[in-house]
C-alpha cells in the first residue's frame, strides 16, 4: 500500500490520491502543440463543443420525447415545441447542431487531407476520425427517425432497403433490421435505443481513441514541419516562449481555440434562432404516412454526396459504388504513396487531386438533392465516376511525387 501523508490542503489531499498535478501537466500545461497553426486547428474544439451541445440538448429532449409511432410526432411538435418551457430552444439547438456538426466534420476532414495530417505516424488519428464520422452518420440517421415524420419514415424505408443488397435479395436481413416488414413500432424503438444509448457510447469511446491517437505523433502544423517537441518544449520552459516552436495546450492553444469557438457560436446561434429551416426539412413536419410517398425523397445535405454515388447507376453497380464510397476514405493514408507530409499546394499533382475531390463532392451533394432527371442525372453520373476515378489514380499520382 502506498504511503499517505496528512494532507495540508484539499489540493494536496486530491493530489496524493489522484495525482492531479501530473494529470494537469500531461494533459494540459505540458501537452505541446505547434505554434505554426491557423484557425482550422480549432475545429476539434469546435466539434467537441458542438457535441456537448448535442448531448445536453438531447438529454432535455429525452425527458419529453415518446418513442411510440402513435405519439412520437406530437411529443416533438406539440409537447416539446409548445408545452415545455424552452422545449423549442432545445429542439432547434439539437436539430441545427446535428446539421452543423457535419459541416465542421467536413472542414476538419478536408483540413486533414490538405495538410497531410494522416501521414507518417498519424494514420490512427485519421482512422479513428473516420470511425467517428461513421458513428456520427449512424447517430444522425437514427436521430432523424425519431420525430416520425414523412421523411423519417421514407428515409428509414429507403436506407434499410439498401441492406437487401440488390440482386442478393436479402429481404430477411431487411426485415431483421426493421423488426417488421415496414418501418413501424419495432423499428422506431430500436432506432431510439441506438440514438440515445449504443451509438453515443460508441462516439464517446471513439472520441477517447481519437484524442489518444493524437498524443504520440502530436498535432501537425501548417508547413508539415517535423518538430523536435522535447527540444522545443525545453526552450519554452526555459523562458524563450517567443522563440519556441511549441505552445502549451492550456492556456496557450485553448485561448486561441476559445476565440474561434466564440465566433463559431455566434454563427451557430444565428442559425438556431433565425435560420433553422435548412436543418429541418419541411416534409418532415408531415406525420409519417405509409400510404403516401413524398414527391421527392432525399437525405439530409451531409449524406447527399454518397447518395448520389448510389443513384445514377443500376441497382447492383450502384450498391457497390456506394459501399466503395463508404469505406474508401479510411484507406487514404495507405493509398497516398507519397513520402511527403506537407500541405497539398507543395505536392504537385496531389494539389489538383485535392481541389478536384472537393469540387466533385460539392457537385455530388448538389445533384444528390435534385430530382434524378435530364441534365442533373448526367452530371451526377459523371461526378460519381469522377469520384471513383480520383481514388483509383491517387496511388499512382502520389507515387510519382518526388521527395521534397
Amino acid at each position: 500500500m502506498a504511503h499517505f501523508e496528512k494532507a495540508t490542503s484539499v489540493h494536496d489531499w486530491l493530489n496524493q490520491r489522484l495525482a492531479i498535478d501530473t494529470v494537469r501537466r500531461v494533459m494540459a500545461t505540458e501537452y505541446w502543440i505547434p505554434k505554426n497553426i491557423n484557425f482550422l486547428w480549432a475545429m476539434g474544439m469546435v466539434l467537441a463543443v458542438t457535441f456537448g451541445l448535442l448531448l445536453v440538448s438531447g438529454i432535455f429532449l429525452l425527458m419529453y420525447y415518446q418513442p411510440n409511432v402513435a405519439t412520437a410526432f406530437d411529443s416533438v411538435n406539440y409537447t416539446i415545441m409548445r408545452e415545455v418551457e424552452f422545449g423549442w430552444l432545445w429542439r432547434h439547438v439539437h436539430g441545427v447542431a446535428a446539421s452543423v456538426v457535419f459541416l465542421i466534420i467536413y472542414i476538419h476532414m478536408f483540413t486533414g487531407i490538405y495538410y497531410g495530417s494522416y501521414k507518417k505516424g498519424r494514420e490512427m488519428i485519421w482512422i479513428s476520425g473516420m470511425l467517428l464520422f461513421v458513428a456520427f452518420s449512424a447517430e444522425a440517421f437514427s436521430g432523424y427517425m425519431l420525430p416520425w415524420g414523412q421523411m423519417s419514415y421514407w428515409a428509414g424505408m429507403v436506407i434499410t432497403n439498401l441492406f437487401a443488397g440488390g440482386s442478393l435479395h436479402a429481404d430477411g436481413l431487411v426485415e431483421w433490421i426493421r423488426g417488421d416488414y415496414v418501418p413501424a413500432q419495432a423499428f422506431l424503438t430500436r432506432f431510439f435505443m441506438l440514438h440515445v444509448l449504443l451509438i453515443p457510447l460508441a462516439i464517446l469511446g471513439l472520441i477517447g481513441l481519437h484524442f489518444a491517437a493524437l498524443r504520440i505523433p502530436h498535432v501537425n502544423n501548417q508547413d508539415g514541419e517535423e518538430i523536435d517537441f522535447d527540444a522545443e518544449a525545453k526552450k519554452y520552459l526555459a523562458g524563450d516562449k517567443a522563440g519556441s516552436k511549441v505552445i502549451r495546450f492550456a492556456n496557450d492553444f485553448m485561448a486561441k481555440d476559445m476565440m474561434v469557438v466564440a465566433f463559431y457560436l455566434f454563427f451557430f446561434f444565428y442559425l438556431v434562432f433565425f435560420h433553422y429551416d435548412f436543418a429541418m426539412d419541411p416534409v418532415n413536419f408531415d406525420p409519417a404516412d405509409g400510404l403516401k410517398t413524398p414527391a421527392h425523397i432525399y437525405p439530409e445535405w451531409y449524406f447527399l454526396w454518397s447518395y448520389e454515388i448510389l443513384r445514377p447507376f443500376p441497382t447492383d453497380p450502384g450498391l457497390i459504388a456506394f459501399a466503395f464510397a463508404q469505406v474508401i476514405f479510411f484507406l487514404l493514408p495507405f493509398l497516398d504513396r507519397s513520402p511527403n507530409a506537407v500541405p497539398a499546394n507543395r505536392r504537385g499533382l496531389f494539389k489538383i487531386w485535392f481541389w478536384a475531390m472537393l469540387v466533385d463532392m460539392i457537385v455530388l451533394t448538389a445533384m444528390g438533392k435534385l430530382p434524378p432527371q435530364g441534365i442533373f442525372s448526367t452530371i451526377g453520373l459523371y461526378a460519381a465516376l469522377t469520384f471513383i476515378g480520383l481514388w483509383v489514380v491517387l496511388p499512382f499520382i502520389t507515387k510519382l511525387e518526388r521527395k521534397l
Binding site: 482550422l40 409548445r82 430552444l89 472542414i107 457560436l265 434562432f273 413536419f285 460539392i362
Partner: protein, 313 residues
C-alpha cells in the same frame, strides 16, 4: 492575413454548397406561384351599391339562404347538427355571421350566382359528371339580380365583425374549419372539442365527428388534412397561394377556392402560426438576447487570446 484568406476559401465553398442544396434545389423542385394578393382578377367586380335593409329581407326571405345557413348573430340557429348537415350536403353549410368580413365581396357575388365557378370546382360539378354543387344558385328574386346580390352582401357585411374585430380563430373557422381539423388547437370539423365530464358525452362527440368525417370523405374524395403543422411543412407563401386557388398546385383537386380577403388570409396564417409555431415571438426575443450575449463573449474571448499570446509571438 493568411488566416482571413483561408476563412474566405472555407466560407466560399460552404456558401456555394448551401446555395446549391437549398435555394437552387428548392427552385428546381418546387413550382413557384406568384400571389395575386387575393384580388380574384377573373371575377367581375360589384357594380351596384348594396342596401343592407333590403339585403336582410332577401337573405331571410326570397334569397332562401337561411333554409340551409345559420346566422347566429341574427338569431338564426342551424336547422341541423353538423353531422346530419354533412350527411345531406357533404359538408356543413357555413354559418354566415362572419362571411361578410372573411370573404371578398366579388367572390361572394359570384358565389351566390354560380357557386361552382366562384369555387373553381367546375371540373367536379358539371353536366358531364352529372353532379351539381350542393348550394343552389340564386336566380334572382324578381328585380335587378345584381342589385339584389349587392344588397345581400351589404347585409352580410353589416352583421359581420369589423376587420379589426375578426380574430384569427374566427377567420380560420369560417374559411377552413369545416373541412380541416387542427388538433393542436383542439379544433375538429364539428367545432372545438370541449372537456367532457362524462365518458358517454365524449364518445357521443367522437361518434358525431367520425360520422361527419365519413360524409366529408365521401364528398371530397379523401379526408382533408389536419393543418396543425402546415406552417412548418408548407410555409406561409405556399399556404397563401394555395388558398388563393388550389388548382395552382393540385390540378383537379376537390378543394374549393376559398375566396378570403387578403386581411382574412393574414388572420388564417396567424392562426396556423399559433398552432404550429407557437413560440415564434419568444424565439425572436431570446434570439436577440443570445446574439447580444455572444458579442460580449467574442470580445472576452479575443481579449483572453491576446493576453495569453502576448508572450508567444
Amino acid at each position: 492575413m493568411k488566416e482571413l484568406f483561408i476563412l474566405g476559401v472555407v466560407t466560399t465553398f460552404t456558401l456555394i454548397t448551401y446555395y446549391l442544396v437549398e435555394p437552387f434545389a428548392h427552385h428546381q423542385m418546387h413550382k413557384h406561384v406568384e400571389s395575386e394578393g387575393f384580388a380574384y382578377k377573373d371575377l367581375p367586380a360589384l357594380t351596384k351599391k348594396g342596401d343592407a335593409t333590403r339585403g336582410k329581407d332577401l337573405v331571410m326571405g326570397a334569397g332562401a339562404c337561411t333554409g340551409c345557413h345559420a346566422i347566429k348573430v341574427a338569431g338564426i340557429e342551424p336547422s341541423m347538427d353538423p353531422a346530419t348537415a354533412a350527411a345531406s350536403y357533404g359538408v356543413n353549410p357555413p354559418d354566415l355571421s362572419n362571411a361578410g368580413a372573411v370573404y371578398a365581396p366579388k367572390f361572394l357575388a359570384t358565389l351566390i350566382k354560380n357557386p361552382a365557378h366562384a369555387l373553381v370546382l367546375e371540373h367536379k360539378f358539371n353536366e358531364k359528371t352529372g353532379r351539381t354543387f350542393p348550394m343552389a344558385q340564386f336566380y334572382g328574386a324578381g328585380g335587378d339580380m345584381d342589385q339584389e346580390i349587392a344588397d345581400m352582401i351589404a347585409y352580410l357585411q353589416s352583421i359581420a365583425p369589423k376587420t379589426e374585430e375578426l380574430t384569427p380563430k374566427m377567420a380560420f373557422e369560417t374559411a377552413c374549419g369545416r373541412c380541416h381539423a387542427v388538433h393542436y388547437e383542439k379544433w375538429t370539423q364539428i367545432g372545438e372539442k370541449p372537456k367532457f365530464k362524462k365518458k358517454q358525452d365524449e364518445l357521443a362527440f367522437e361518434t358525431n365527428l367520425v360520422n361527419y368525417q365519413d360524409s366529408l370523405k365521401a364528398y371530397m374524395g379523401k379526408l382533408p388534412p389536419d393543418l396543425s403543422m402546415y406552417i412548418r411543412s408548407r410555409g406561409e407563401h405556399y399556404i397563401k397561394t394555395f388558398v388563393e386557388n388550389p388548382q395552382n398546385y393540385l390540378k383537379g383537386t376537390a378543394m374549393p377556392r376559398v375566396g378570403v380577403t387578403a386581411e382574412s388570409a393574414e388572420k388564417v396564417i396567424e392562426y396556423l402560426e399559433d398552432a404550429g409555431d407557437a413560440k415564434r415571438h419568444e424565439r425572436a426575443e431570446v434570439g436577440m438576447n443570445v446574439m447580444i450575449y455572444m458579442i460580449f463573449f467574442i470580445i472576452a474571448a479575443v481579449l483572453w487570446k491576446k493576453e495569453v499570446w502576448r508572450d508567444l509571438h
